[in-house]
Structure formats: structure tokens, C-alpha cells
């Protein structure tokens, strides 16, 4: 277990990220040389903890805020998700060319059961250096990742997706690619309903969906999600847009029973009560797409991959029949943010080199290049000024929506909490349960589970 910085005296001790210190104290120590280093580093880590304590959701900054100098040679292992892992080596050739001492091995891991894979790898001590982790998978595993180096400027990323990597007052990863949910609406049906453009407010959204049924002949006005597992995620857009948060500012308490949340879900529920949205939509493969293509559905809430699915299902010419729009505004027009974060494992033996690669991948031009290779949307805001993205009419809707997004926190208990919350949403949608009562019950259940910190 040789770690590059232990044998390298020039490395200033204070320059190490707090996470690397925690890592060393956690690993069994074998040789005396290491033991001394550990003793010294533990002292620094105590000091670092003291200073980081009040940092809140801000990235750790301070005297230790410099990066450990990245070594000249390094062999890095990256785990990437799904087809991203297929494409990543193409992009990384450039990195290897710019940094001759570096070689990067990419392993693709399936989305299915990815969380199990990451957790067992961490438990077994056989992690890669870097992993791409879906934002919804971050919950409960964040303590396996290193906090970002102190000099990382996290303001360059879209702030909604960034929240998925902020746990317990620390930022343990950076957004790499992002996704968010927007409205896909049938322009022909909208026109029949008297709308020449997208709905701007909550009232307009409902009026348009209703009109698409009454005048447009659609069976259903709106569908809130393409797949059942997105139902709850997508529904958060409404409380968020109404000024509510899922968790309190200091992360100590779930906040489901606020008046803002209750009102938002009362609005959400009204779509189902007034038969504008189907409480039991068909969930088979392509069911949402075909309903949208057939004109049985007026508005669909979906993410960036949906355009391609709709074009496949609709065939040539269908492109002109629908448009994309950002979420309508109440207090704001906030949508659910997803995507993937890049994390560096605490057990990485090359953490300085790993962060170097993460920084490289966060450069705007590299982000644009990755979009061109893989089609994944850039998480770095300035990348969206590139014409490749800015000039695409549909994409720019996502670019616009990404400025106003939010994400659930990566708490260890989030999956449980989201589960009990989802049951309440289902009760409201399918059984007409009163939102005030549903949110009260959700709050009680969530309090029972706790925030896990």
C-alpha cells in the first residue's frame, strides 16, 4: 500500500485535502514510516476539522485549500456508467496526450445495481480512483468519497445538481453531466387550446392541459413522468417552485409539512382530481411516448433523453408537432436535477492525480467535447455558451431550466425517506388523500427515519 505523497517530502502537509487524512487513519498501518506520517497528518486533520466545522454547504476552504501537487506519472482507474464508459476512452486519449505520464483505465459498470457495486467495492477496499455516480445513487455512500480539494471553484457548476454531492456540510464530488425535467408539449393541441407558446404560470399550465383535452381531443392533459420511478422525483418541482425545501438549511430535519409543500401538492393533486392527469397511466415500455405521439396526451414531463425516444416513436415529421418548455413559474420554476457526479474515492492511492483528471473533465471545452461524443449535457455552466449547445433550440430549453433546479440531498436515509414520501404522493394521487394530512404523515414517517447524520 504505497501512497505517492507519503514518500514525497516536498508535499506540504497542509496541502492535503481533509479526506486523504481520514483515509490514512482508516487504513491499517504497516510500516513505521507511514505511522509517523499518520501521526503528523492526524494533527493536521484535527486542525482542519476545527476550521471546516462551520463551512455549511460551502466547499471546504482555508489554509489547507491548496491541492496536493499532482505527480508526473499516474495510472488511474475510472468507473463510468453504462454507455458513457464506452465513449469515455475516446475523450481521455486527449488527456493522456496532454499529460504524457498518465494512463487511465476505464471500466463500464451497468446502471443496474450500481449502488451495490460501489458500496461493496468500498467495503472490500477495491475501489477505483474515480467513479461516475448517478446523482440519485449518491445517497448513503458519500462517506466513501473525498471532499473536493479546497481550491475547487464549485460555482462553475449548475448549483441544483451540485446539491446531490453535498452531504454533511462537505462537497464530496462535482457534477459531471446533468439532466433535468422539462415540459414536452404538443404545439398543435396547445394551439387548439388557445396557447401559441408555452405555459408561463401554474394557472396557465392547468388551463393549457385542460384545453388540450376539451378542445384538442386529448384523453389526458398532462403526464407527470414517463416511468413510475420518476413520479416522485418529478413531483418535487411543485413544492420547490412554491418556495419549499425537502430538508432544512442545516440538514438536520426533513421539511415536508410546510404550508408551501402542502399547497404545492394540493395543486399537483388537482390535476388528478379534475381528471386532467391519469392516476393509473400505462407504464409499459414506450407507453408514455406512444400516447404523446397518438395525440392522447398533451404534455409530458421528461428529461433530455426523451426527444430521441419521441422522434423514434413518432417517426419523421413528428418533430414539428411538439416543443419543449421550462417549468412554469409559481415563486420560481424549479425542476428536478439529475445526472452524474464525479467522485474520488477515499481509498484512491492516486488522489492528487485523480483530482487533476476531474478538473480536466470540468473544463468547459472538454465538457462540450464530451457532449459531442456522448450526448450528455454539460454540468459546467459556461459550456452552454458554446454554439454547439446554445444554437440548438431544444437543448437551450434544458440549458435554461438547469439554471433553476434542485436535487434531493445525498443523505444515507434518503432512499427510505423518499420511499415513505412516495407512498404519500401515491395516496394523494390515487386515493384523493388530503395533502395536509399526507404531508403530516410523511413528516412523521420521515422524522422516524431521521436524516442519517
Amino acid at each position: 500500500m504505497r501512497r505517492p505523497f507519503v514518500g514525497a517530502p516536498p508535499t506540504p502537509l497542509g496541502a492535503l485535502a481533509p479526506g486523504t487524512i481520514a483515509m490514512i487513519t482508516r487504513t491499517p498501518v504497516r510500516n513505521t514510516n507511514l505511522k509517523i506520517a499518520v501521526a503528523l497528518l492526524s494533527l493536521v486533520s484535527l486542525a482542519a476539522c476545527g476550521r471546516d466545522g462551520g463551512a455549511g454547504a460551502e466547499p471546504a476552504t482555508g489554509a489547507q485549500g491548496q491541492n496536493a501537487t499532482a505527480p508526473a506519472n499516474a495510472k488511474l482507474v475510472v468507473w463510468a456508467m453504462g454507455s458513457d464508459g464506452d465513449n469515455l476512452p475516446k475523450l481521455l486519449k486527449k488527456f493522456e496526450a496532454e499529460n504524457p505520464g498518465y494512463s487511465v483505465d476505464v471500466t463500464s459498470i451497468p446502471w443496474q445495481d450500481a449502488a451495490s457495486k460501489l458500496r461493496t467495492a468500498d467495503a472490500g477496499g477495491v475501489t477505483p480512483d474515480i467513479a461516475q455516480v448517478g446523482t440519485t445513487l449518491m445517497g448513503g455512500i458519500t462517506d466513501a468519497f473525498q471532499p473536493v480539494p479546497g481550491d475547487t471553484d464549485t460555482s462553475v457548476y449548475f448549483q441544483g445538481p451540485l446539491k446531490s454531492a453535498q452531504a454533511g456540510g462537505q462537497t464530496v464530488g462535482v457534477p459531471w453531466v446533468v439532466d433535468t425535467r422539462v415540459l414536452f408539449y404538443r404545439t398543435d393541441l396547445a394551439r387548439k387550446a388557445g396557447f401559441d407558446g408555452p405555459p408561463k404560470t401554474w394557472d396557465e399550465l392547468k388551463a393549457m392541459a385542460k384545453g388540450m383535452q376539451a378542445q384538442g381531443g386529448a384523453k389526458w392533459g398532462i403526464r407527470m413522468a414517463t416511468t413510475p420511478d420518476q413520479d416522485v422525483q418529478n413531483s418535487f418541482a411543485f413544492p420547490w417552485s412554491n418556495g419549499a425545501q425537502i430538508i432544512s438549511q442545516d440538514g438536520s430535519k426533513w421539511t415536508f409539512d410546510t404550508p408551501e409543500t402542502v399547497d404545492a401538492y394540493r395543486y399537483y393533486q388537482s390535476f388528478y382530481k379534475e381528471k386532467i392527469a391519469d392516476p393509473n397511466p400505462a407504464t409499459g415500455a414506450g407507453a408514455a411516448e406512444s400516447a404523446f405521439v397518438n395525440g392522447q396526451l398533451g404534455i409530458l414531463v421528461a428529461g433530455a433523453g426523451e426527444s430521441e425516444l419521441l422522434d423514434q416513436a413518432g417517426g419523421p415529421g413528428f418533430k414539428d408537432k411538439y416543443a419543449l418548455a421550462t417549468f412554469p413559474r409559481q415563486k420560481s420554476g424549479t425542476s428536478f436535477a439529475g445526472g452524474s457526479d464525479l467522485v474520488v474515492f477515499k481509498q484512491s492511492k492516486n488522489s492528487a492525480a485523480a483530482w487533476k483528471l476531474v478538473r480536466w473533465l470540468s473544463q468547459p471545452d472538454v465538457q462540450v467535447e464530451w457532449y459531442q461524443i456522448d450526448g450528455a449535457l454539460p454540468a459546467v455552466q459556461s459550456a452552454w455558451q458554446n454554439p454547439a449547445l446554445a444554437d440548438d433550440k431544444r437543448l437551450s430549453v434544458f440549458g435554461e431550466q438547469l439554471k433553476d433546479t434542485n436535487a434531493p440531498p445525498p443523505n444515507a436515509t434518503w432512499l427510505q425517506v423518499s420511499d415513505v414520501f412516495g407512498q404519500q404522493v401515491e395516496q394523494m394521487v390515487k386515493n384523493g388523500k388530503d395533502p395536509a394530512q399526507a404531508m403530516k404523515d410523511a413528516q412523521t414517517a420521515a422524522d422516524g427515519i431521521g436524516t442519517g447524520s
Binding site: 456508467m81 464508459g85 451497468p110 443496474q112 451495490s116 467495503a123 414506450g286 428529461g303 433523453g305 417517426g315
Partner: protein, 287 residues
């Protein structure tokens, strides 16, 4: 199955029997169609494009058959490598189970030694502990042994199974002691008795155990997923999931084509061994 057509000509009774048989066959036919329909859909779907699969109403026959899905598997995605991994793991696991489960089963059924009941109780207890409970500790164990990303990691944890030991013990218990004693008198050692007397008598349970183990290994997803750390060690189910299932969208054509390729060998194995399979289940059940 008794034969009814003798040389005596058709009586009313024969008529009734023939009719009843016709009904039975009809019922069986319905069951077969119901069972096979999803497989037919899988096979036909593997020749469709994504757009055609997602179309509503969905057609049964592909309108524009394409072999693109299979082409992707065979050219771009190194199917051969995944297939080889799956095969090596499955075959070694099956051989290991046949050897070790029958050995342990033989010892537990026919030997008398101190702690025999305890050993058997332990086997039964491990049989009852769900796999999820031991999953992470098992992985940590394998990782600490430095075996991750090796065939050993994929095979070792499954090389013997409590269910197999139990099954073999139950079957071997029914072999007459006299047979084994005769062999001992003739000077055969225990290993020889196991190999020459016990094993040849254990055809049905061995076939059952072999098939069950093969199926379990061939379809196993979660363990190979965590144990294999580079793509060249992935088995078929892991590769299938990796390439066809995204975070949100699934490439159904590719998934179905891959499923056909994964299932084909299993169907072949079953067709060859089904006689033993059904026989084995029956015998174990009776004892």
C-alpha cells in the same frame, strides 16, 4: 402411460380414452403456448428496431426485420469474451458442486464420526441464511484474499452449495449399506467406493444438481457484477445489463437479442438433460 390400442378393435372404452387424451393434449397445448409466447416475443422482438418495439399498438411480427441487434453483439461488444467467462465459471462451478457435494453427502450419509450431526446442522443452517445477508462479508473476504477480478472470485464462493450437500446426502442415504460393505470387503478404499459405487448410482440427483447449479451460475448477476472489476471479466448477464439498460432508456432490441443469445445454451442443456432432470426431482421427492 399405458397403451390402449391392442388387436381387439375399438370399443367404446377406447373411444372415451382417446377423447380424454385429446382433451389432455389440448390443455397441454394451451399451457405450452402460454409458456412459449413470451419467448416467441423475445425472439421476434430481437429482430425489431427500437422504434418498432415502442410502437403502439405493438405488432407481433417484425415488419422490417433487422439483424442489427445481433450484429452489435457479435462485432462491437465482444460477445465471445463474455460467453467464455460465463462458460468457464458455470462449468467449473458445476464440476465443483458435483464432486464436493457428493463427497460431503456421502460422508454425512454413510460415515459415523464425532460431530456428524453438528456438521449436518451447520449445512442446514447455511441453507437457510439468505444470500443477501452474507453478500457483503463474502465480498470483503474475497477482496482481502486479493482475488477480485479473477475467475477464482467468480467461482470459489459457489464451488459447493448447502442445497447440493443436502440433496446428495438424502439420495446416498438410500443406497443399501450392504453394497458399500461388499466393496469394503473386496478391499476398496472409501474414495474408490465413492467413485465406483456411489457416483454411478447417483445419476438423477447429479443431473438435477448439475442443471440447477448451471442455471444459477449462468443467470447470476449481482455477484459477477461486484466481483469482476474490468469489462473483460464480465459475464453475460452483466454485459447484457451494461449495454442494453441505461439510466432511463432501455435498448429493447439489443436486450432481447442478448437474451436470446444467453438463453440458447440453457435451452440446449435442458433439452439434453431433461430426462434426468425430471427423474431426479421425482426421486429426491420420494425419499
Amino acid at each position: 402411460m399405458e397403451t390402449t390400442t391392442t388387436g381387439r378393435g375399438r370399443s367404446l372404452w377406447d373411444h372415451v380414452v382417446a377423447r380424454r387424451r385429446l382433451l389432455i393434449y389440448l390443455a397441454l397445448l394451451v399451457a405450452v403456448v402460454v409458456t412459449l409466447l413470451p419467448f416467441m416475443w423475445m425472439l421476434l422482438g430481437s429482430f425489431k428496431t427500437q422504434g418498432e418495439i415502442l410502437r403502439d399498438p405493438a405488432g407481433f411480427l417484425p415488419q422490417h426485420p433487422t439483424t442489427e441487434n445481433y450484429g452489435t453483439w457479435f462485432t462491437r461488444l465482444h460477445l465471445g469474451r463474455f460467453f467464455l467467462n460465463s462458460l468457464v465459471v458455470a462449468v467449473v462451478t458445476v464440476v465443483g458442486n458435483l464432486l464436493f457435494c457428493s463427497m460431503v453427502g456421502y460422508a454425512l450419509a454413510k460415515f459415523d464420526f464425532a460431530g456428524k450431526r453438528l456438521v449436518f446442522a451447520l449445512v442446514m443452517i447455511t441453507l437457510m441464511v439468505p444470500g443477501v445477508v452474507t453478500f457483503v462479508p463474502l465480498f470483503v473476504l474475497v477482496a482481502k484474499l486479493g482475488l477480485t477480478n479473477t475467475y477464482a472470485a467468480l467461482i470459489l464462493p459457489f464451488l459447493t452449495s448447502p442445497l447440493g450437500v443436502f440433496m446428495m446426502r438424502q439420495f446416498i442415504g438410500g443406497i443399501p449399506d450392504a453394497l458399500l460393505e461388499a466393496a469394503r470387503i473386496d478391499g476398496a478404499g472409501e474414495l474408490r467406493i465413492w467413485a465406483r459405487i456411489v457416483m454411478p448410482l447417483c445419476g438423477p440427483p447429479l443431473a438435477t444438481l448439475g442443471i440447477l447449479t448451471f442455471l444459477g451460475s449462468w443467470n447470476n448477476f449481482l455477484w459477477p457484477l461486484v466481483a469482476a472489476q474490468t469489462e473483460d471479466m464480465y459475464t453475460l448477464p452483466v454485459a447484457l445489463s451494461l449495454y442494453s439498460t441505461g439510466q432511463i432508456a432501455t435498448q429493447y432490441g439489443l436486450l432481447l437479442a442478448g437474451s436470446v443469445l444467453v438463453i440458447a445454451p440453457i435451452v440446449l442443456v435442458f433439452v439434453f438433460l431433461q430426462r434426468y432432470f425430471t427423474q431426479g426431482i421425482a426421486t429426491v421427492g420420494v425419499r
